[in-house]
């Protein structure tokens, strides 16, 4: 590579076609790799080659830090969830993408309200590329649970009557687990749903009461899904994506049903694109153009996938009918028409910020998960 130019103005287009190394720490490529590949195939003059690498969010920071400390950043684009995004902001790893050149990312004006709220979390450092309202939902097999609980109190009663039947995974290892955790304050009417330490009195009481009838907290959502399928768990926490996709994959019986608890708020989730500091301006230019393309409806429709992040698109007016054939078929068979209504009728909330979330995990680990030790 010639001498790097990491500061200064970002040109409209790279001077020569560049190679982009993308690191995905959120599982986002499942949704967006198609978009990227298509852009690359049409813009050989900008991007000669893309390499994909995948990793988990926690290790991301260390790796970028090591590269930045050494002055050799070779990761050009990171696709991350809220956790990685926040950690990077906190550690000062990301290039400020906005507001400069905001005009190049016109798609950002078309964000869905929920997605726009999620974009707030990114400040000027990231661009929301996919979005979904997530949960909390409960999932069960109708044959095992003919009368699913309708309220948090019902759920508690059910758990009391069927010890071990209610399951949610350890929140720090599980999307549905943490969605359930973050959704409870809204359901129970806690004083400050954004402050797990001082504002969640009812939630913590509820969880410790529930804890008495929960025999185990699996270390991942997959396992709760497996337990639901094999009958060792009757009701588990879930989200829209975790409801549809596993049934498509066949890990959960197709007939599994979802339920909601009365008065719930959606706790939304999104994936972001960020650029580490130290990336050459030519590459930045290419990435900006790529992101701009990804935020067009035609590309966003690919985010429907097979319900992995249902619905998935971050911008308005991307109906399922625009999605690729495969998506439409999968969602036609496994999708749930009632989601449209649920999404429309229930308020959405952004998740906790990273610090508060970690504090909530910590408290959960100590008081709920860890309480088992002394028993």
């Amino acid at each position: 590579k010639p001498q790097r130019n990491t500061g200064g103005t970002v040109p409209d287009k790279p001077s020569t076609a560049v190679t982009i190394n993308i690191l995905d720490v959120a599982g986002d490529l499942q949704l967006t790799q198609g978009m990227i590949d298509e852009f690359v195939s049409h813009h050989h003059d900008q991007i000669a080659k893309v390499t994909y690498a995948k990793a988990t969010a926690p290790e991301l920071v260390g790796k970028i830090k090591a590269q930045q400390n050494a002055g050799r950043v070779d990761i050009d684009l990171v696709l991350t969830g809220v956790d990685g995004l926040a950690a990077g902001i906190d550690q000062g790893l990301w290039t400020r993408l906005l507001p400069a050149y905001a005009n190049r990312l016109s798609g950002m004006n078309d964000y869905l309200p929920g997605a726009a709220a999620m974009q707030e979390l990114a400040g000027d450092y990231g661009v929301t590329v996919t979005y979904y309202p997530s949960g909390p939902l409960i999932e069960y097999l109708p044959t095992n649970v003919p009368n699913p609980p309708k309220t948090p109190a019902d759920l508690l009663t059910y758990a009391r009557a069927n010890p071990g039947a209610v399951q949610y995974a350890r929140p720090s290892n599980s999307g549905p687990g943490r969605t359930f955790l973050m959704g409870l304050p809204y359901l129970l009417g806690d004083s400050d749903p954004k402050d797990p330490i001082n504002g969640w009195a009812k939630t913590w009481d509820y969880l410790s009461e529930l804890n008495k009838y929960v025999t185990l907290y699996p270390s991942g959502t997959t396992e709760t899904m497996k337990n639901l399928a094999n009958g060792s768990a009757k009701i588990i926490a879930s989200t829209t994506g975790w409801d549809i996709n596993p049934r498509v994959l066949g890990t959960v019986p197709k007939e599994a049903a979802i339920g909601t608890l009365q008065g719930f708020h959606w706790v939304t989730d999104a994936h972001y694109a960020v650029i580490p500091k130290g990336v050459d301006v030519d590459e930045q230019a290419a990435i900006r153009n790529l992101l701009a393309d990804m935020l067009t409806p035609a590309q966003q429709a690919k985010a429907y996938d097979k319900g992995y992040f249902y619905p998935g698109p971050a911008i308005k007016d991307v109906p399922l009918s625009m999605a690729p054939q495969e998506s439409r078929q999968a969602l036609g068979e496994f999708g749930r028409p009632e989601y449209d209504q649920l999404i429309a009728d229930n308020p959405t909330e952004v998740p906790l910020d990273a610090k508060a979330l970690v504090a909530a995990f910590d408290r959960w680990d100590r008081e709920i998960g860890g309480a088992k030790v002394t028993k």
Binding site: V25, A26, A55, A66, G81, N173, G220, N230, P246, T251
Partner: protein, 287 residues
Amino acid sequence: MTAISVARPRTRRRLAASPGAWLVWGAVTFFFVMLAGVIGSVVVSSFGSHWFDTWLPQGWTTQWYRQAWQEFTLFDVLVVTVEVSLLVVGISVLVGVPASYVLARRSFPGRRLLYLLFLLPILMPPITYGIPLATVLYKYGFAGNMSGVVMANLVPSVPFVILTMTPFIEQVDPAIERAARMCGARTWQVFLRILAPLLIPGILAASILVLVRTVGMFELTFLTAGPDSQTLVVALYYTMSAAGIRAQQSIDAMAVVYTSMMLILLVVALRFVNPTQLVARVKEEPE
């Protein structure tokens, strides 16, 4: 008591052996049964399409393997993994065995201190030194490609070889080395022609263990790997703990791929050398 020299039933002694023998073989059998269950359930699951509350899956498929193969460009990853692990094993044996030789054979001031120094990298979790190590390697242009991955993995591997080989070398009669020297062999020749063959079981054991550790070493590999120097464990680690939805079966499939690769490496290694009784074997009771 006539002089019938019928061949003595050979198994008698072994069968009549203490109940201890039965206990041991019983425990081994139990271990095998459990092992078969553990491995079997994963393999079966990785080929199953739906497996709920039944003895066996409802249908069979290879889609999980196909998916993993494509999603992670597994072929390239496997090649890199094999290259990295062989390099790490080779270098750490070359560097570690001479050092353990000195530690085993000589007593010199500071020997204990040195032993401790070699112990530390195994004791210290990579968290303490992983990031600064990666920084150093990036700074000098090693990280981001295979050389960095290899170097980072040497950190725990070299001491590992040293620790396992030291007691081994202590067992070899020093007179044999002296004899080799009297035959005019230089130090490296003594190593190559005399010690190495005698130490083969130990070197093999150490290599296999280093190999396993290297293939399974996530942190250091991830921190120093570039886009085209990822190893299998990075992919495996991803399927296992990344955010998002993965079918249980695809994790199982990746685990099976990982294990198969290790198994192939192991069997290849064991084809070349038997880990047991290479030298002392001839002194054993022959059948």
